[in-house]
């Protein structure tokens, strides 16, 4: 779920140690035991998630503002909220912006991640260890902390980015405001997101690269294949499944990203011109206390992310069922 679990996702050394899959027939048929074991989780999730999800649907069909919240009852309005949202120019602009934003972020994350993973393979051991430790350190940074660091580094008065760029004679960047335009605001958010996402992608891809048989690569080298040819014809097909998974996870996370844009751009500078989907629903639904309309936006967003995650969820469920 969103950035939170991105840090919790897999990587590390154990990916390589291939653990043979357990056959389904080897599992005990336990009668009522498994149901007793899963019952607490099912009940808790049913209550803490199922009930709010039911409310999400219900709210989206109601006129529900602060007044109704105090009264504990909404007014049924049918599909009015959806009609209002779908005829809102801001919704469509936000959707388009979020799609482009997601494409850029995911593209940068995956391409840079792949390049750094390939670089890791070629490094001397000590540089590789140094870089991997650095990546793990970055990986462990809490998102809110990362936002504060970026905010401080890009501060227009005495941010270090401006001094470095000026010193390197890239141009005169003293007092340069990195948050002056919508484009630069979202550009800064992109830097922050890609920086935070790279460690997970690099380390996972590096683990996947260990699966590429060395003798196959050496044989191709002897036959005079170019590095790019080897990458395209040998490496890529082998790591394709994991690359696909990383891409779908990144799409899902970046499409729904909230904390980085909300905090880095800053509440006071957030306008319909730089809305991303989750910020749009936060501002329209929560901030303006128009919960009914906010619920309609939320539901549309959940459906969109649901469609985006079909590939990933199907793949993982298949793995889960067979293990």
């Amino acid at each position: 779920m969103s950035e939170g679990t991105s840090t919790t996702a897999a990587a590390g050394t154990l990916l390589g140690t291939s653990r043979r899959r357990r056959r389904v027939w080897g599992r005990a048929a336990g009668g009522a035991v498994p149901y007793v074991l899963i019952a607490p989780v099912v009940v808790v999730i049913g209550v803490v998630l199922g009930y709010p999800l039911y409310w999400l649907g219900k709210l989206s069909l109601e006129h529900y503002t602060l007044f109704e919240l105090i009264r504990h009852a909404g007014t049924w309005v049918g599909l009015d909220n959806y009609r209002s949202v779908l005829s809102d120019q801001i919704f469509w602009h936000t959707l388009l912006r979020t799609v482009i934003f997601t494409a850029v972020n995911v593209g940068l994350t995956i391409v840079l991640g792949m390049l750094i993973a390939l670089l890791l393979v070629r490094l001397s051991t000590w540089v590789r260890l140094l870089l991997t430790s650095g990546l793990v350190l970055v990986w462990s940074m809490p998102v809110v902390v990362a936002v504060q660091i970026f905010y401080w580094m890009t501060n227009f008065q005495n941010g270090v980015v401006n001094s470095i760029l000026t010193k390197l004679h890239v141009g005169d960047f003293s007092q340069h405001d990195w948050y002056g335009t919508t484009f630069s605001q979202l550009g800064m958010v992109t830097l922050l997101i890609v920086w935070g996402a790279l460690p997970f992608v690099v380390i996972t891809l590096y683990a996947a690269l260990a699966q590429v048989p060395r003798d196959l690569v050496e044989a191709a080298e002897v036959d005079g294949a170019t590095s790019f040819g080897i990458f395209r014809d040998i490496t890529l097909p082998i790591i394709k499944p994991i690359l696909l998974i990383l891409t779908s996870l990144s799409i899902i996370w970046d499409f729904g990203v909230f904390t980085q844009p909300y905090l880095l751009i800053g509440q006071s500078k957030i306008t319909p011109n730089n809305f991303l989907m989750s910020i749009y629903l936060f501002e329209e639904g929560y901030f303006k206390s128009d919960y009914g309309r906010g619920a309609a936006i939320s539901l549309l967003m959940v459906l969109m992310v649901g469609l985006l995650s079909i590939v990933y969820v199907r793949k993982m469920v298949r793995i889960g069922v067979s293990e």
Binding site: M1, G4, T5, T7, T8, A11, G12, L15, R21, G26, A28, A29, G30, P34, L37, I38, V41, V42, V44, I45, V48, L53, L56, I116, R122, L123, V127, L130, V136, L137, S140, M141, P142, V144, A146, Q148, I149, W152, Q157, N158, I242, I245, L249, I252, F255, F258, T259, L263, S278, I279, L281, F282, M301, G306, K315, M316, I319, G320, V321, E323
Partner: protein
């Protein structure tokens, strides 16, 4: 000879690129720590001081003496503690069912566990807020714990399942043949073998919960009730005269528990969101 030298030059070239990537990636973290220890005149100077040779601890003092720091650290610890405790116990039971039993509805349960982790958190803030407001549970830590369970529980189930699959089932079967009861097997064999997995999963759940921002931001308005990430996010406000040293010291303090725990268990968590996809 020239061939070997060519190779060595190329190796040095790759290493240089690797070091450059290292510097770019690590610089923000380095800059946070460096700023946190620098005296104010060096912080605001347009000529950056890279390493604070005369470090000061005054920013850390300023950070921890800012209002609500200790209250909000305590709140975070309470929320994290309860969420992790509930999640681990319940998730472990469900993980045993997934890893050791075949039952109808298993695929559906897996779908639920995976699917929930893909829900966008922002999409849930409106209904969670309204439901909790309806039961007068906004501004309470209990409300936050409830919302955190929605994503920590499925994560724990899935991760613990991975650890369980790594423990050979034959051990338990042998014990059963020797006349142990199911409960005996669970207590004497499964639980001790699972200890590292339970610790690693708890630590990751701890980190996720400690770092959480949106739900806490939406549900907790009272400053004395907030968690540490919300406290940190309000640090600079809209003021132009931000105390950068204190902000970076506070950021360092917020990150330290996470970094320490993360470094301890990062290698152990290999069964997360991409597990299985690499293996053939």
């Amino acid at each position: 000879m020239t061939r070997r030298r060519g190779r060595r030059v190329r190796q040095a070239g790759w290493d240089a690129v690797g070091l450059a990537v290292f510097v770019v990636m690590v610089f923000p973290v380095f800059w946070m720590i460096s700023t946190a220890f620098k005296p104010d005149d060096q912080i605001v100077s347009l000529n950056p001081t890279w390493i604070p040779w005369r470090p000061t601890l005054s920013h850390f003092g300023a950070a921890i003496h800012k209002p609500y720091f200790w209250e909000d650290v305590k709140n975070s610890l309470i929320v994290v503690g309860i969420t992790v405790a509930i999640s681990i116990v319940l998730a472990f039971l469900a993980a045993v069912a997934l890893a050791r039993y075949g039952f109808s509805g298993r695929a559906l349960f897996i779908l639920m566990v995976i699917g929930i982790q893909m829900l966008p958190q922002a999409g849930l803030i409106i209904p969670l807020y309204v439901v909790l407001a309806d039961y007068h549970k906004t501004n309470t830590l209990a409300g936050v714990v409830i919302t955190y369970l929605t994503f920590v529980l499925p994560f724990c189930v899935w991760t613990l399942r991975g650890f369980l699959l790594g423990i050979p089932k034959e051990l338990e079967e042998a014990a059963m043949v020797d006349g142990s009861t199911r409960l005996g097997v669970f207590l004497k064999i499964l639980l001790p073998l699972m200890a590292p997995g339970l610790v690693a999963t708890s630590v990751f759940a701890f980190i996720t919960t400690w770092n959480e921002y949106i739900f806490a931001r939406v549900l907790l308005n009272d400053q004395s009730k907030q968690t540490i990430t919300v406290w940190l996010s309000y640090f600079y406000g809209s003021s132009r005269h931000t105390d950068w040293g204190a902000l970076m010291a506070a950021s360092t303090l917020t990150a330290i528990p996470v970094v320490v725990f993360f470094l301890l268990v990062q290698r152990r968590i290999a069964f997360g969101l991409t597990a299985g996809a690499v293996r053939g």
